[in-house]
């Protein structure tokens, strides 16, 4: 309960902080919507050129991938934005501030920064879903539920890879690339990947868990598959919590001058 109160306080403060620069806020949000929309034109042209089917995926199914990925990515950016900066927070010693506060370290760090453009991504994902998908209560529940799951798993992947900074000094570029790969693979029809790539997409770059399988469940619901994918998501999130907690024991801090943005 106390943690949820802190979470909502962070959301409010991050929004206030973003609104300090209204023009930048609006430019980033609408810029992101425009940027994402451009890709839809690309997919329309592609489907017109190659027919209605790419490796078993039609235009509507691909749009589901795009909408859930944009929505989940947006949620992660807005509510768990500091995951992207975790390496920097570790190697500059900024983690000190969170270690001195009486709250669980990981949520406290992750909640305390929001990336403004994420609002644009999340809004875009919702609108795209509404415009391109058949709407039903179950379908909306799957979309929203797996949107949140994508945000959590993407953040967990970022946390795991950025936590390598505790061990190697700086894993920032590697972790950023890993996060981007999850998003990149999530937006392409799963059918085009096979063999070892598909294994990777179920594990170290879990695009299958956060996008392909939810798309499958949206098209045709299967309780066993739902439970299996939720268990896999939970495993990745638990892994992130453990890797980070172990990393903190190796934390060396630092003395760089810093401010909370």
């Amino acid at each position: 309960m106390k943690l949820m109160r802190l979470f909502s306080h962070y959301v409010k403060l991050n929004l206030q902080s973003a609104m300090e620069y209204r023009a930048a806020f609006l430019t980033q949000v609408f810029g992101m919507i425009l940027n994402n929309s451009a890709f839809i034109v690309f997919w329309l042209v592609l489907f017109r050129a190659v027919g209605d089917d790419i490796a078993g995926w039609g235009f509507t199914a691909v749009m589901f991938l795009w909408s859930i990925t944009a929505f989940g990515f947006g949620l992660a950016s807005v509510f768990l934005g500091n995951a992207l900066y975790l390496s920097r927070i570790i190697y500059t010693g900024e983690l000190d501030v969170y270690l001195l506060q009486p709250k669980p370290i990981l949520p406290n760090v992750l909640w305390s920064r929001s990336i403004v453009s994420g609002w644009g991504d999340a809004a875009y994902g919702l609108v795209l879903f509404g415009l391109t998908q058949p709407l039903s209560v179950a379908g909306i529940a799957i979309f929203l539920g797996f949107g949140v799951a994508l945000a959590l798993v993407l953040t967990a992947i970022r946390v795991i890879y950025h936590s390598l900074t505790f061990y190697f000094g700086n894993a920032e570029d590697f972790a950023t690339t890993a996060g981007e790969l999850v998003i990149l693979f999530s937006m392409y029809p799963g059918g085009v990947f096979d063999g070892p790539t598909m294994w990777l997409l179920h594990s170290v770059i879990p695009a299958a868990l956060v996008a392909f399988i939810p798309a499958q469940l949206f098209a045709s619901f299967d309780t066993t598959l739902l439970l299996a994918v939720l268990a896999a998501d939970a495993l990745i999130i638990a892994g992130a919590v453990i890797v980070f907690a172990r990393g903190v024991r190796r934390y060396e801090s630092g003395n760089r001058i810093g401010a909370r943005l």
Binding site: K2, R5, L6, H9, Y10, L13, Q16, S17, E20, Y21, G93, E94, L95, D96, V97, L99, L100, Q101, P102, K103, P104, N108, G169, R249, Y251, E252, S253, N255, R256, I257, G258, A259, R260, L261
Partner: protein, 326 residues
């Protein structure tokens, strides 16, 4: 007297990469990386009583910040025991956090783009201070630190002195029993420094808050602390009253002068440390030669072009303690 901080036989070392300079060394280090261990803190023993204002001083890299981070639970020691307010800072970090406060001159807990009042409310939430208590506490702190006019200005628009006052208020939101101040007056002008010192003294006297202060500023130590612990190379090299330290070293000033000819001065308590044709560096023992007597004499004896009076740098205090001249 109740002991609130106790460190026994603390050791902490860091591993760091050893690499030569230049491109070749960088390429070689990709294949074979050598590391060495740096002992930041060695066999450190220290205790602080409730209500004490302790100066914890030492040159850069002596282990001051590492020690504070060990005490506050940020870093894990390699060996030894730490007890703060009866708690192990590493096993019971969160419990301890409710009872200590920190001001790191170099790190801010205020949100840069928002007014301090927003940060105060967030910190109230972080420390689970009930809303009514928080409102009352903010009112008290606003009065004590005289920050009423600053509350609604974004932190980025505050001067350094104003920001430090707000930082100190923020660190006291939850009524901490121990306050760790790491270089709280760094970069401040003389007037603001004096104000900050008054506030620290007031906090200690009114609320019996234990103050653990690190500073390179001799003025902070002289004016605030009763006891000084000097650390160098991770070890305690001096642990005694500031009064004794003052009698030994802090009662001296360094005078740098530029002259239009060679300087001669023969006065008890004044020693020439270094002399060039047009420059000189003097050390003045204030007990034997008050500064108000020495300066006019200098002006009478030599054509002074420029003069600078300063305290003995902390580094020098440490080296003199090491040399055994204290």
């Amino acid at each position: 007297m109740e002991e609130v901080i106790r460190l026994h036989n603390i050791n902490k070392s860091f591993r760091t990469a050893v690499r030569g300079t230049g491109l070749r060394a960088s390429v070689r280090s990709l294949v074979h990386r050598e590391t060495r261990s740096i002992h930041a803190v060695r066999d450190l023993d220290l205790s602080v009583d409730r209500g004490e204002v302790l100066a914890f001083i030492g040159p850069n890299g002596a282990g001051k910040s590492t020690t504070i981070k060990l005490i506050t639970g940020i870093l894990f020691p390699d060996s030894g025991d730490i007890t703060v307010l009866g708690l192990d800072p590493h096993r019971r970090r969160r419990e301890l956090a409710y009872r200590i406060g920190t001001v790191f001159g170099q790190k801010s807990q205020l949100w840069f783009h928002l007014p301090p009042l927003d940060s105060f409310h967030l910190l109230g939430n972080v420390y689970d201070v009930p809303p009514a208590t928080l409102r009352q506490r903010i009112e008290e702190l606003v009065e004590v630190f005289e920050i009423g006019d600053l509350l609604d200005q974004p932190v980025r628009k505050l001067s350094l002195g104003e920001r430090i006052r707000c930082e100190m208020a923020a660190s006291l939101i939850h009524h901490p029993e121990i306050l760790f101040l790491d270089e709280p007056t760094i970069g401040l002008d003389v007037v603001v420094k004096s104000r900050i010192r008054d506030l620290i003294r007031d906090m200690n006297r009114r609320h019996n808050v234990t103050i653990f202060l690190t500073s390179h500023d001799v003025g902070d130590i002289e004016k605030l602390c009763k006891r000084a612990v000097v650390i160098n190379h991770g070890q305690v090299v001096w642990n005694d009253t500031v009064k004794r330290l003052k009698y030994s070293l802090l009662n001296r000033r360094i005078i740098d002068v530029k002259t239009d000819g060679p300087l001669t001065i023969d006065q008890e308590g004044v020693r020439i440390l270094k002399q060039g044709e047009y420059t000189a560096k003097l050390e003045v023992d204030l007990d034997r030669a008050p500064i108000e007597e020495v300066v006019p004499r200098l002006f009478r004896n030599a054509g002074i072009q420029d003069i600078n009076i300063s305290n003995i740098p902390t580094e020098e205090i440490i080296s003199r303690i090491y040399e055994g001249s204290v």
